[in-house]
C-alpha cells in the first residue's frame, strides 16, 4: 500500500474513532500512539464495536477475530496497520 493510500485510510479511521470516542480531542491532535480507551480516545465497548463496523465499510474488508486482539486494540496506529494489512491480504479494498 503506497503512502498516499495509507494516509487516506488513516484519515478515515481516525475520523470514525473520533466520532465515536468521548474524549474532547480534535482529529489533528491524534497520533499513532493515542490509545483507544482510557487515556486516549475514551471509546467504550459499544463505540468500539460500531467503529469496527464502520471501518469495515470504509476499507471494504471483512474483519475477523484477529482484529479484536489486544495487540490491535493498543492504539490508533496499530488499528490502521492492521486494517492496511487486511486490505493487502484481500488484494485491494478501499478507500
Amino acid at each position: 500500500m503506497d503512502d498516499a493510500r495509507r494516509g487516506k485510510l488513516r484519515e478515515g479511521i481516525v475520523a470514525i474513532l473520533v466520532k465515536h470516542g468521548t474524549a474532547d480531542l480534535a482529529a489533528a491532535r491524534i497520533t499513532d500512539d493515542t490509545p483507544l480507551f482510557d487515556g486516549g480516545l475514551k471509546l467504550d465497548s459499544l463505540a468500539f464495536m460500531q467503529s469496527l463496523l464502520e471501518i469495515e465499510e470504509l476499507a471494504k474488508v471483512t474483519l475477523d477475530d484477529e482484529s479484536a486482539s489486544r495487540d490491535v486494540l493498543r492504539n490508533v496506529g496499530s488499528v490502521v496497520a492492521h486494517v492496511a494489512s487486511v486490505m493487502e491480504k484481500a488484494g485491494g479494498g478501499g478507500p
Partner: protein, 301 residues
C-alpha cells in the same frame, strides 16, 4: 425445627450440599426446606411473591420452600462443577432438550443465546459448552470448564463484543447473560412494575450482528436440570433507530423474564442480576402479574 436454627442448620445444609450423593442431597434439602419460611420470615423474596403473585398464607410459604430448595440445590450442583465431577453432572443434564437451539443453529445465521440469573445457569452453561463446539461464552467470570471471554473492563468488553459479532456472523452461537452488571451504557425498562437498568451490550450485539436472539433459562425437573427457551427475537432490519430497537429488544427479554415468575419457584433462584436491581425497589411498586400470561409464554414450566 429449633435444632435447625443457626449453626446446626448450617452444618446440615453443608452436609446435604457437599457430602451426600447429589440425589440424596436434593432429598435432604427438600426436608430442610420445610422449615425455611419460619427461619427466614423477613426474606424479601416472600414480599415480592406476595405482591407479584398475590400469594398469602400456606401458599406463600410453600412457594418460598420451593424457591429455597431451588437455590440450595443450585449450590449443591455447583459443588460438583467445582470438583469437576463430570459423570455426576452428565447425568444431571441428560434430560436437557436442545432442539430449539439446534434448529436455529442449523440456519447458520448465528444465535445469541441470552440467559439470566435464574436457576442452575452455571450447570446449563457447562452442558452447552460440552454439546456445542461452535459456542462462545461471554461472562464476568469465565471458568476453566467453559472457555470464553471476560467482560470486567472496557477493553475486555470491546474484545468480547467484537469477537461475538465475528462469531455470530460465522453462524456460531454466543451465550451471555442479558441481566449482567458490567457495561458502560444502559437502558431502563420495567420488571414487575419496577424500573430496572440493564446494560445495552447484549441488545446492541443482537442489533449489530443480525443474529436471532433465543432467551434461555435453566430450571429443574425431577431433580435434573432442564432448559426453557423463550420466544425468539428475530434479527434487526437494516436502518432502524438503534436505540429504539434495543429498547424494544430489552422490553421483550425482560417481559419473558417477568413471565418466569409465574413458573416453578425453584427455577427462579432470585439472586444476582435483575434480582439485585429489583431488591432495591420498594415493594409497593411491584405490580401483580396476571396468571393468564403464563399460557401466552412458550417454554413455561
Amino acid at each position: 425445627m429449633t435444632l435447625l436454627r443457626g449453626r446446626p442448620l448450617g452444618a446440615a445444609l453443608w452436609a446435604a450440599q457437599h457430602l451426600l450423593p447429589l440425589r440424596a442431597g436434593f432429598a435432604a434439602l427438600r426436608w430442610l426446606a420445610r422449615g425455611a419460611p419460619d427461619r427466614e420470615p423477613a426474606a424479601w423474596h416472600m414480599r415480592v411473591a406476595a405482591a407479584a403473585l398475590d400469594l398469602e398464607g400456606e401458599a406463600l410459604r410453600d412457594w418460598y420452600r420451593r424457591l429455597w430448595w431451588g437455590r440450595e440445590a443450585c449450590l449443591a450442583a455447583e459443588v460438583r462443577l467445582r470438583r469437576k465431577a463430570t459423570r455426576v453432572l452428565a447425568r444431571l443434564v441428560a434430560d436437557i432438550d436442545w432442539t430449539p437451539l439446534e434448529q436455529r443453529l442449523a440456519q447458520r445465521r448465528g444465535v445469541l443465546a441470552i440467559g439470566a440469573h435464574m436457576g442452575p445457569h452455571f450447570i446449563a452453561r457447562w452442558a452447552a459448552a460440552r454439546r456445542f463446539d461452535q459456542s462462545l461464552f461471554v461472562a464476568v467470570n469465565v471458568s476453566a470448564d467453559t472457555e470464553g471471554i471476560a467482560v470486567r473492563d472496557p477493553a475486555q468488553r470491546a474484545v468480547a463484543l467484537a469477537n461475538s459479532i465475528f462469531h455470530l456472523r460465522r453462524g456460531g452461537m454466543v451465550v451471555l447473560a442479558g441481566d449482567g452488571a458490567f457495561g458502560e451504557r444502559a437502558l431502563t425498562t420495567a420488571f414487575l412494575g419496577c424500573p430496572v437498568t440493564l446494560r445495552r451490550g447484549p441488545a446492541a450485539l443482537a442489533r449489530a450482528s443480525g443474529a436471532v436472539t433465543l432467551p434461555v433459562a435453566a430450571g429443574w425437573k425431577d431433580d435434573r436440570v432442564v432448559v426453557h427457551f423463550g420466544p425468539p427475537i428475530e434479527p434487526c432490519a437494516d436502518r432502524v433507530d438503534a436505540e429504539a430497537w434495543e429498547a424494544e429488544w430489552l422490553r421483550l427479554y425482560v417481559g419473558w423474564l417477568e413471565g418466569r415468575m409465574l413458573g416453578a419457584p425453584e427455577d427462579l433462584r432470585m439472586k444476582g442480576g435483575i434480582w439485585g436491581m429489583l431488591r432495591d425497589s420498594p415493594v409497593s411498586q411491584i405490580r401483580r402479574i396476571a396468571a393468564p400470561a403464563a399460557a401466552a409464554l412458550p417454554g413455561m414450566a
